[in-house]
């Protein structure tokens, strides 16, 4: 089976700053893969390149749609979403002032197509669509554990719930690949555990998950494979165990000599 996402030699420069240099790795269908690295390593930049928010300076990003790889580097974010890549943001970006249910309904946007006239005259097809959107949005809320909270205002929810809602909104776009940017940040251990459970259930629906995460418990607990980047370069890929013990990774996180100190 083809990898769902192939990142081939991607670089990104911001003026003189080389945020990413020659990053290459594949993501297989239906795996949970972690992207780790110290702060400022370029993880979010890589996300943005895949999601279409940034255009890679060079290199290719191929996303497999119905068995065919499609080049998505430089495509507009709304196109990328329509192809089946959804994401969450490091600093939660909900539609703060809208209702929880509307947040999820907006996520459904790209899978429907009613237009101005449909909206104005409420044609039968439009009505059917609205019912479908409402039903699927409720279903997704239930799936992430926010059942019955649709009428609340997004920004009034607790932090952990906002994270869940953001995942719900991403799931609403029917993604094949879900990219989570530090989903466990700011969560207590119990919330983190239920998040891990949620990610497993998402994968069980056949969705591939790529996550940036600093919480090593989460990374070790659910990732099947881990990609490590540092200073915008690939450091290694491997199984969580391999990565955890690798001197280069420890050095990247803790500085030169840290490995020796850890050994001693």
């Amino acid at each position: 089976m083809k990898p769902i996402l192939q990142i081939q030699g991607v670089s990104k420069n911001f003026g003189g700053l080389r945020a990413l240099q020659d990053i290459s790795f594949d993501i297989n269908q239906n795996e949970i893969i972690g992207l780790i690295g110290p702060n400022g390593a370029g993880k979010t930049t890589l996300f943005n390149c895949v999601a279409g928010i940034e255009r890679p300076s060079s290199g290719k990003i191929l996303f497999t749609v119905n068995g065919n790889p499609v080049a998505i580097g430089g495509k507009k974010p709304e196109k990328v979403t329509a192809l089946g890549i959804a994401r969450t943001f490091q600093n939660i970006r909900l539609f703060d002032n809208l209702k929880v249910l509307d947040n999820v309904k907006i996520g459904r946007h790209c899978r429907f197509k009613s237009n101005v006239f449909g909206a104005a005259f409420k044609t039968p097809s439009q009505r059917r669509e609205e019912e479908e959107i409402a039903a699927s949005a409720e279903e997704i809320l239930e799936f992430v554990g926010l059942r019955g909270r649709g009428e609340e205002i997004a920004s009034s929810m607790a932090y952990g719930d906002q994270r869940r809602l953001e995942i719900a909104r991403a799931l609403a776009t029917d993604p094949k690949l879900l990219m989570l940017d530090e989903p466990a940040a700011g969560m207590n251990p119990q919330e983190a555990r239920s998040l891990m459970d949620l990610i497993h259930r998402i994968r069980d629906k056949g969705i591939t998950v790529l996550l940036i995460e600093h919480d090593m418990k989460v990374v070790m607990g659910i990732c099947e494979r881990v990609v490590v980047i540092n200073y915008g370069r690939m450091l290694m890929t491997g199984l969580p165990r391999e990565v955890q013990g690798d001197p280069r990774v420890i050095e990247a996180y803790l500085g030169t000599g840290a490995f020796n100190a850890a050994e001693a």
């Binding site: 979010t44 943005n48 928010i53 940034e54 943001f89 490091q90 970006r93």
Partner: protein
């Protein structure tokens, strides 16, 4: 005719430049289109005329005092209208700016009446009327005065921005308000002073235009304001040299357009230039492209 239109264009363009720097400086520090800036310009003209007619002041003194009043108006505008909204969304600030613009316009109408008034031209110094006739054009003392004032102010403003502590503080605030505040700069004070500088130059421009066309009316700020804004955009919003150049280019384009195309669309040329620039080269001559999306993730 070409040379004459060029002279006229440079004269009026210099005045646009004086107003345009006001827009650009304010935009630079707080990212607000200060729609009411055109009204400060209008008030400058009316203040000067009032000083001359009611108080019998000599022209130069009225000029200086009008500039001082313009500075005060600018500061009041900021303190009363904009400062309370520093942390509000842009839409709120823009709506306030529009509201202030309309308010001041009508206040002027209430005070001075809505009909155009002549500028007290008898107060203008003698040498303004001296005319030199060249082979292709005529030049008056008034032209020279406008050029002189424009050049002095532009040079002065550049020195102010580049050489003084205030200029440094202003650039710092424009770059990053939080960091500027951490570095011990009183951000609000710098912003208010920026409004003062902008207001004084706007008032000077208003006085010059009033005297040049010999006509003052409460809505004069509205057209001039948009034109000057167009000049600021043309130069690249946020860039002071850009605003100067933009003003002059726009003034010349307008004079040429009015001379060769159609004088009916004199104002239309500015609007047209502005729309085209915004659509095709939003960064203007010296500016930075402003994108709101794709940022800050």
């Amino acid at each position: 005719m070409f040379t004459q239109q060029l002279v006229n264009g440079l004269t009026i363009g210099g005045i646009y430049a004086l107003i345009a720097v006001g827009y650009t400086m304010v935009y630079g520090v707080i990212q607000l289109i200060n729609f009411a800036h055109g009204e400060v310009y209008m008030l400058g003209a009316f203040f000067a005329a009032t000083f001359i007619m009611v108080m019998g002041m000599p022209f130069y003194m009225a000029f200086i005092l009008a500039m001082a009043c313009g500075a005060i108006c600018g500061m009041l505008l900021d303190v009363i209208a904009y400062r309370p909204l520093r942390r509000s969304p842009r839409l709120a600030c823009l709506i306030t700016a529009i509201g202030m613009s309309i308010f001041l316009q009508n206040l002027a109408m209430l005070i001075w009446g809505s009909r155009p008034k002549p500028f007290p031209s008898q107060s203008l110094p003698e040498w303004f009327n001296t005319t030199w006739v060249f082979s292709h054009f005529r030049l008056t003392g008034f032209h020279l005065f406008v050029f002189g004032v424009t050049i002095i102010m532009m040079v002065g403003l550049n020195l102010l921005i580049k050489k003084t502590r205030f200029g440094k503080a202003m650039r710092a605030v424009a770059q990053n308000k939080t960091m500027a505040a951490l570095a011990g700069i009183n951000v609000n004070k710098v912003i208010t002073l920026t409004f003062a500088v902008a207001g004084s130059m706007g008032a000077a421009a208003g006085l010059l235009v009033g005297a040049y066309y010999n006509s003052l009316y409460p809505t004069m700020g509205y057209v001039a304001g948009v034109k000057a804004f167009a000049a600021a955009v043309l130069g690249g919003i946020g860039s002071v040299p850009g605003a100067m150049l933009g003003g002059i280019v726009l003034g010349v384009a307008e004079a040429m357009g009015a001379g060769y195309l159609s004088s009916l669309y004199r104002d239309g040329i500015s609007y047209g230039v502005m729309i085209l620039v915004i659509v095709f080269i939003p960064a203007g001559f010296f500016g930075v492209v402003i994108k709101e999306t794709k940022k800050s993730i």
